[in-house]
Amino acid sequence: MTEEHKKYLKKIKRHNLIVRISQFGILIAFFAIWELVAFLEWADPFIISSPSRIYKTTMDLYTTNMLFNHMGATLNETVISFLLSTFIGTFIAIVLWWSNMLKRISEPYLTVLNALPKIALGPLIIIWAGAGKQAIIIMALLISVIITIMSMLSAFVSTDKEKIQLMYSMNANKFQVLYKLVIPANIPTLISVLKINVGLSWVGTIMGEYLVSREGIGYLLVYGSQIFKLDLVMASTMLLCILASAMYFAVSLIEYLIKKLY
């Protein structure tokens, strides 16, 4: 390795270190300032809470065995709706790509369903599916499935026409075009849809829990705000941040593995 290349690598390492330290520093500074503002009562700690109060509330939840119950319930609903929306959405997109007639018939319905605020369907879902876990999963599913269908379908139909022609010229059938070209060519879109679905599934689950649940982080948020226990609301929000980030990283890991495979 030449001296010049060593210098170059050192510069890159230094740059990366500065970025990491800055990211971590901002987080520490944010919590420190927040704690200080609450401690010195520059703002009412009852309203703004504080990191130490959030920690105490979280520990209280832990000691009463409630922490993992609530986290588990929300995580379970989110993961189920995330997987269902990804699989169902991609499957429907494949069916619509396969049949141009079906695609054209479904276009106005997809447009209306996409524009519709899904929360409006909440009361209907509760009546049809019951005020339980199913209703929450259906709500979360509805929120992300339409966008999955539309994103995947749009990617499928914009697959390079010349490549499709090339495959047909090689005597390929439509199924071969699908699994040898259309699906692998759109893996990057699938990954970005997965990432979008992580966020949407959390939105759907929390929204569902607002409406019907007796457990879960959404329930804690509503309960905390109803009894004006802002520490609980803040603690729930922090837990949500941790869980959503963990799921996002899990999807990034899947992305890394897929990229390695392809």
């Binding site: 390079d160 010349e162 490549k163 022609q165 090339l166 495959m167 047909y168 010229s169 090689m170 005597n171 390929a172 071969q176 040898k180 070209l181 692998p184 060519a185 893996i187 392809y262």
Partner: protein
């Protein structure tokens, strides 16, 4: 002896909601085995349509196309297309790109794979079989695309402006490579191009098309030394004469338009 390829009174019309556009009008020509035919003509004259018909992607509105005396419908896969850009699949290694046609036709036997490997080695890609297309130069990618066309052992190669995406220097080199591969493998080729020099330097025969709906304006037999490379053929004394003849034919069309 019957010709390998016979285009007999072929016409083709494109249909759209607004109108119908006749692309080809009564095209008739034939090709012998191992012949290299170039098709030149004004833009939009239907050159690519001829290749699409030969690849079985389109069906003629009237007329017939025969390969080895049999209707082209019964000979699917006998003519293999090399598109304008190499169209290698980035998620596949070079060897898996090259054997794509074999996978599709379920003829990915050990023998055929060995043939693909031997072609890759023979034409300088032996070290790159596990690489991704993005790791190859433009010229190497074109060679890989041509080998992908060759491994299914087609009767006719259909080359749709395969060098149009390359810079001039690479283009001249790739032209030499492609020409030598086709001659060594004793293949018959139909080559569509806008570039008159390229057509003269590679082809045994040049078909000049009229503007749309295309008809055949003339067929010129190129009598240049077949043992020379396309680059060397450009230095031949009668090269300029062929160029002028074809240029004049195409210019006559432009003059009529202006």
């Amino acid at each position: 002896m019957a010709k390998l390829l016979e285009f007999e009174g072929v016409s083709f019309i494109y249909h759209s909601l607004e109108n119908e556009t006749p692309a080809l009008d009564n095209i008739t020509f034939g090709m012998e085995r191992e012949e290299f035919v170039a098709i030149v003509g004004p833009s939009g004259s239907g050159k690519t349509t001829i290749l699409s018909l030969l690849a079985g992607l389109l069906e003629p509105s009237s007329g017939s196309i025969k390969i080895d005396g049999k209707p082209i419908k019964e000979m699917r896969g006998k003519a293999s297309l090399m598109p304008q850009r190499d169209q290698l699949f980035e998620w596949r290694s070079i060897i898996r790109n090259v054997t794509l046609g074999l996978e599709i036709t379920r003829t990915n036997t050990a023998e055929n794979k060995e043939y693909a490997l031997s072609l890759l080695k023979k034409y300088g890609l032996g070290e790159f079989i596990k690489k991704r297309p993005s790791e190859l130069s433009g010229g190497m990618r074109q060679r890989a695309a041509l080998i992908r066309t060759l491994v299914t052992s087609p009767e006719i190669l259909l080359l749709d402006e395969p060098f149009s995406a390359l810079d001039f220097q690479t283009r001249l080199n790739v032209c030499n490579d492609v020409y030598s591969i086709i001659k060594e493998e004793k293949k018959t080729a139909v080559f569509v191009t806008h570039d008159i020099s390229e057509a003269i330097s590679m082809a045994d025969k040049i078909i000049i098309l009229t503007e749309r709906p295309a008809n055949i304006k003339g067929i010129i037999n190129i009598d240049l030394n077949k043992n020379l490379t396309p680059l060397e053929r450009r230095e031949e004394p009668n090269f300029a004469g062929y160029f002028k003849t074809i240029w004049d034919e195409l210019e006559a069309h432009n003059d009529r338009r202006t």
